[in-house]
């Protein structure tokens, strides 16, 4: 399973995309365990700790390579970022800032959930927050499953972009839940 990299200094190609760099097919449905194994194997080669005893120029190069590998891993590890990146490779803009044409029922639910989080924070109600967190995770998983179908099976990138925009809402909600916990702890 595990690909072994033996890379000489000339072989590292900064032009490769994240998938190529890690030696993975450019699809949404990734085996996260395999991604992690490949990342670790690659990082074990390029990490600056491997060249701390070498001249400055080698160390600088190691830093750049290791940075690049971290960037690739962080992007591919997160389903939202991975989808956004795949769409970018396809030349599709996810329009997360500009496209506000969200389904009304989705927006209604979002507003309801955010209010619930705010109320839970105010009431310092950890149980309510946990409930909301579980609901958010459930919805996120469903959206990701739908995204996999649109991306990998149907290649319907416009529909995939619409789901990415929804996932962005879920990410925001997760951040709000986190800061609600912070507020309660304080």
């Amino acid at each position: 399973m595990l690909q072994v990299y033996c890379m000489s200094s000339s072989e590292f190609n900064f032009q490769q995309n994240h998938f190529q760099l890690l030696g993975l097919p450019a699809v949404f449905k990734l085996d996260s365990a395999q991604l992690e194994r490949l990342f670790r194997a690659l990082q074990a080669q390029v990490h600056p700790d491997k060249s701390a005893h070498l001249p400055d120029v080698e160390q600088r190069l190691a830093m750049q390579r290791s940075t690049r590998v971290n960037e690739a891993y962080q992007t591919l590890k997160s389903p939202l970022r991975r989808a956004r990146y795949l769409l970018l490779l396809q030349g599709v803009d996810t329009q997360e800032e500009t496209n506000t044409a969200m389904p009304v029922d989705f927006l209604m639910v979002q507003m309801e959930w955010r209010e619930a989080v705010a109320d839970a924070a105010k009431a310092r109600d950890v149980d309510a927050l946990e409930q909301q967190g579980a609901r958010m995770k459930q919805e996120t998983h469903e959206l990701e499953a739908a995204l996999a179908v649109k991306m990998d099976d149907e290649h319907d990138y416009a529909a995939a972009a619409a789901i990415v925009r929804k996932l962005r809402f879920m990410e925001k909600l997760a951040e709000e839940i986190d800061s609600a916990y912070d507020e309660i702890d304080n």
Binding site: A44, P48, D49, H53, M63, T67, N70
Partner: protein
Amino acid sequence: MALLQISEPGLSTAPHQHRLAVGIDLGTTNSLVATVRNSLSVVLPDEHGRSMLPSVVRYLADGSVIVGDAAQSAQSEDPVNTILSVKRFMGRGLADVGDISRLPYRFVDASSCLPTGRQCSTEAASAKHGMVQLRTVAGVKSPVEVSAEILKVLRVRAEASLGGELTGAVITVPAYFDDAQRQATKDAAKLAGINVLRLLNEPTAAAIAYGLDNASEGVYAVYDLGGGTFDISILRLSRGIFEVLAANGDSALGGDDFDQRIHCWLLEKNQLSALNPKDTRLLLTLARAAKEQLTEHNEAHITAVLSNGAVIDNMLTEAEFHTLSQNLIQRTMQPLKRALRDAKLSVDDVKGVVMVGGATRMPQVQQAVGRFFNQTPLTNLDPDKVVALGAAIQANLLAGNRTGDDWLLLDVIPLSLGLETMGGLSEKVIPRNSTIPTARAQEFTTYKDGQTAMSLHVVQGERELVSDCRSLAKFELRGIPPMVAGAARIRVTFQVDADGLLTVAARELTSGVEAAIVVKPSYGLSDAEITRMLQDSTQFAQDDMQARARREQETEARQLMDAVQHAMAQDSDLLDQAQRADIEIQLQNLQDALSSADQQMIKRAIMALNEATVSFAQSRMDKSVKRALAGMNISDLETK
């Protein structure tokens, strides 16, 4: 004895040249240096066999410096020039230090550049946000210089013990140290003539020492409560990889604060208000002793006589101490929760909790951590040494001494990095807990027609408002070609290296004209400043020798005083009124000379006391001869 261990056979003549590398734990209270020897990580002791070097630096009037135990024992005698816990001031401004009235130092506000200040920055901008400085009898010192003195002693100790020049060192820092504190630490090492292989987070160093020793797998929490800093790191250990999932903490919370609580309790109990520096230091020392006493006993008896004659006599019980320190321990719980949340884990996922730092010896700390994680913390390693031992193991690897087994360390940046945007808000560019090294670029544009410059303000912290974050650097990008508003594309790149240190570069993209600048945090020191400090320190190239001479002289003075006092007590009948008065005056003079720490004065006072006691010594000798002739046992004559 450390010196006898130097010539380990084959060390320097090994076929694959062994590079001498050490790990240094530059602690708030104590510092240590360790190395890997015969595949084992060991702490290097000094010539007296002491492995811990108290992180205490004393400055004397002639510019010489005393570090460690000798400095520590002078802390009550000379509190203003004896700097303790300097780590708390690294990369910190006066405003960050908090209640300075509780500390016996003379702080210098770096914003008012004083003519005597050797350390004052030439750049107004950096002086304005400068690191706090301390005025000592030897001039104004920055925390970087003070820390460098500690590091120098450890370097010399290591080189003497290993028998050669160091290739480099891994220096540990609290995981929650921000960029300014890290930069200051690296500058201190540079000033001490040390090649820094890596700045390593303290909990990560502990995890290496613990994990490699126990072949651990799974998620571990490292709870590190040191003298002045608190860290919590959540790591995943799996075959050869140490991956930090999240780090959190408080870089101004540690064992010192527990001492302060006891100190305040003493003030309250005895209805004392502001004390002089001597008494403050005395009570702090006693507070620390009481804290340590309470680790193994139910109560601690605190007694002291203050300089005004007031007597302190209090009993602190374990229960009372727990009440006093309760909210300090509570302050460590919030970072625990945050770290777990950031790691997206719950308490049940944590397989073991490793305790690091001397302050984790306090039973109430262990209990609180045990309750939080629902398991007994691992306390089977020496909390004082494990960081240095781990750092040494990493240093050995980084120096290129292949040991056969290889591991990889993936660490994170503890605090988000951002830029100030309109309205004084911080826009996060690199989020906290990003695996390092990492880089992120953000594009900006001009908002006015023909705008040729743009100012950037780099901040670190989690808060929304820039004013609540730490300001790291302000700089201007100049030479943007004049364009209509919004046409320029300025790309700002944040790069964090494996030491967790930030470099910011900015360039304008559209015109092909590049204007790039690299900034260092304004709390750090410029290369020019370091060069100047290095030059300054060569003026004191003799300082080690001087310090030793001084110590010897002080010892001689104390021995002489003891001997004279002893003799006076024993043979008072041999002295007339005038002789006695004369000797007493000279004794007092020597005592004064000792507290002034002026080498010349001590020397003169020793000679004067010797002179004043010549006839007394003569009479005592006569007396003993007479006694001997009277057939007394010779052993009775021996005066100690």
